[in-house]
Symmetry: C2
Subunit: 333 residues, 2 copies
């Protein structure tokens, strides 16, 4: 059994820290780790696997000594610059950013959904957007069985998806509510405390946000239906962690509701919480800390011939980012 | 000019208090007010119109001395018992509860949308559900022009819609976050702080909540399209006041996007906030304290032949309840 060398790029960020936590939980045959970050965080000490690591500054020669795998959680600009350098040197990169997701030579992978894509890589594999991962985990088994015709997404996304600055904005808003202590917004254009903000990532020419367009494009790529009809409204809500999604789906084929529920139950990584007589349904606080995608409020949409509404919740930092990346790494190993 | 006598039933509740505030802002020809509440709140002193009022206990003989109008904001059970008594005695009742909304003899009115229904009353007029009022205010001008075919609602509803107990649950959750002080939930099944709860009002046999079914039924009644295809997911969010809604609409007719925006701009009580190049869109904190329905994120839905997505925000206690009731009263006067 080979022992691998793994780099974690962006090791001090919200997702990078979770990558380290998930790696600690798994027993992977990795004998050597290197932690990278920007010059700002370089030199920081990070406790990991019962050892103290010093975070290295990411540089153009960082991949000169052979590194088998790298998990990048450092944003699009860093990925665009350094992932190709790493790939060129023979490192297989799993990238959490938006940089390469829609490249036709880059697999976009949720391991439960399209593991067969992993092997098609040319040293770069993309992790989908957090809001897409939890959606396609539910959509794939339903598409296989009932052939999805159209999707309407409305999301309720946690501030952790906006990194530590997003978390600070909510925290500071809460403190301000009780103490009236002034604070400066670090991430959002408006206070996220006491607001739902219908604006994630930048606005595009067509009036959609990039986050909405990502959900549309990435769902199509992962389900291998380039013309699938999808629309999306993505919204930031004053919740610290775990994204919730209202997903309206129209099918080509008819379905039996109990059979549809059983199909979801039989799918890996999905957990059905749908017992309305006992007021049980997925919540952000139930999803946080776990890798399962929670599904509830499963009910027929009577406004179309064959349709269903779902309420889907998952930990956006774990399943929506870190755990999905580590699962891809497990497949590679 | 006649001077009328007006009763406010449920005068100490969240909506009742707002009814008093809205009445103070308007100059209506009302010479006498009576404030009613349950026995629990009877005897309370309420300052209103520069006068101190003692809240009376609502009883079966409360309407024996002639009262011209009554605004009820006291829940379905109280309305079911006392509104027919008042109506019988000749009082015209405007009821904020769900009790009579779907009765075919009871007009269900949003004054900007279907004022012609008011005169058809038999002494009881219903105020629609808060989440319905702001939705139909936008939908009506679009339906008139483009003929709505189908609607998919996903809501982001504030805790004030659940009354003072709902507000306490969020407040106590915030305090608990900072102080770790224990608290007991008063209204919701789960902490609303840090969660989006996909459960408003009780669950029905068909898997929908009553709130979802209300949005579907009331929209159909107000738009006078009993078979309109509608589905809904209604969600409580950790926001104190003002409901936000993601509304996906499919039309029978084609539209020009600028013309559609102009149609909304020309409609009474709607305010367009849709300047994405300057990051302007409706927010709960912008809507609070005003009667306008705010609309933004207006963009074509490319997943259907003719469709649009809207983000609609309004003060659920003002336009969604108190102001709408007072506007109906103005029409009656």
């Amino acid at each position: 059994m080979k022992n691998y060398k793994l780099a974690i790029v962006g090791a001090t960020g919200v997702v990078g820290q979770m990558v380290l936590k998930v790696l600690e939980e798994k027993k992977l045959p990795i004998s050597e780790y290197v932690l990278f970050a920007s010059s700002k965080s370089a030199g920081k000490k990070v406790s990991f696997m019962n050892k103290e690591y010093e975070v290295q500054e990411l540089k153009e020669d960082s991949f000169d000594s052979h590194i088998d795998f790298a998990i990048f959680s450092a944003g699009g600009d860093t990925a665009k610059k350094y992932a190709p350098i790493a790939a060129e040197k023979g490192t297989i990169v799993i990238d959490n950013s938006n940089a390469f997701r829609m490249d036709k030579d880059v697999p976009l992978v949720v391991p439960e959904v399209n593991p067969e894509e992993i092997k098609k890589h040319h040293n770069i594999i993309s992790n989908p957007n957090c809001s897409t991962i939890q959606a396609v985990a539910c959509l794939k088994p339903l598409d296989d069985k009932y052939n999805i015709k159209r999707i309407v997404y409305s999301t309720y996304q946690a501030v952790s998806g906006a990194g530590s600055k997003g978390i600070h904005d909510l925290e500071n808003g809460i403190i301000n509510y009780l103490t009236k202590e002034n604070y400066k917004l670090e991430k959002f254009n408006y206070p996220i405390f006491n607001n739902c903000i219908p604006h994630i990532d930048v606005f595009l020419e067509n009036g959609y946000t990039k986050e909405e367009q990502k959900m549309i494009n990435e769902t199509r790529k992962i389900l291998k239906k380039p013309d699938l009809k999808i629309t999306a409204t993505t919204v930031r809500v004053p919740v610290f962690n775990s994204h919730s999604e209202s997903i309206n789906i129209e099918f080509e084929k008819s379905f039996d509701l109990n059979e549809l529920k059983q199909t979801l139950k039989d799918s890996p990584s999905l957990k059905i919480i749908d017992d309305i007589s006992n007021n049980k349904y997925p919540l952000a606080t139930s999803a946080t800390g776990h890798d399962d995608v929670l599904i509830g409020r499963i009910r027929r949409d009577y406004s179309v011939i064959s349709g269903v509404n779902l309420w889907v919740v998952a930990d956006n930092i774990r399943k929506g980012a870190a755990s999905n990346a580590v699962q891809i790494l497990e497949h590679l190993i």
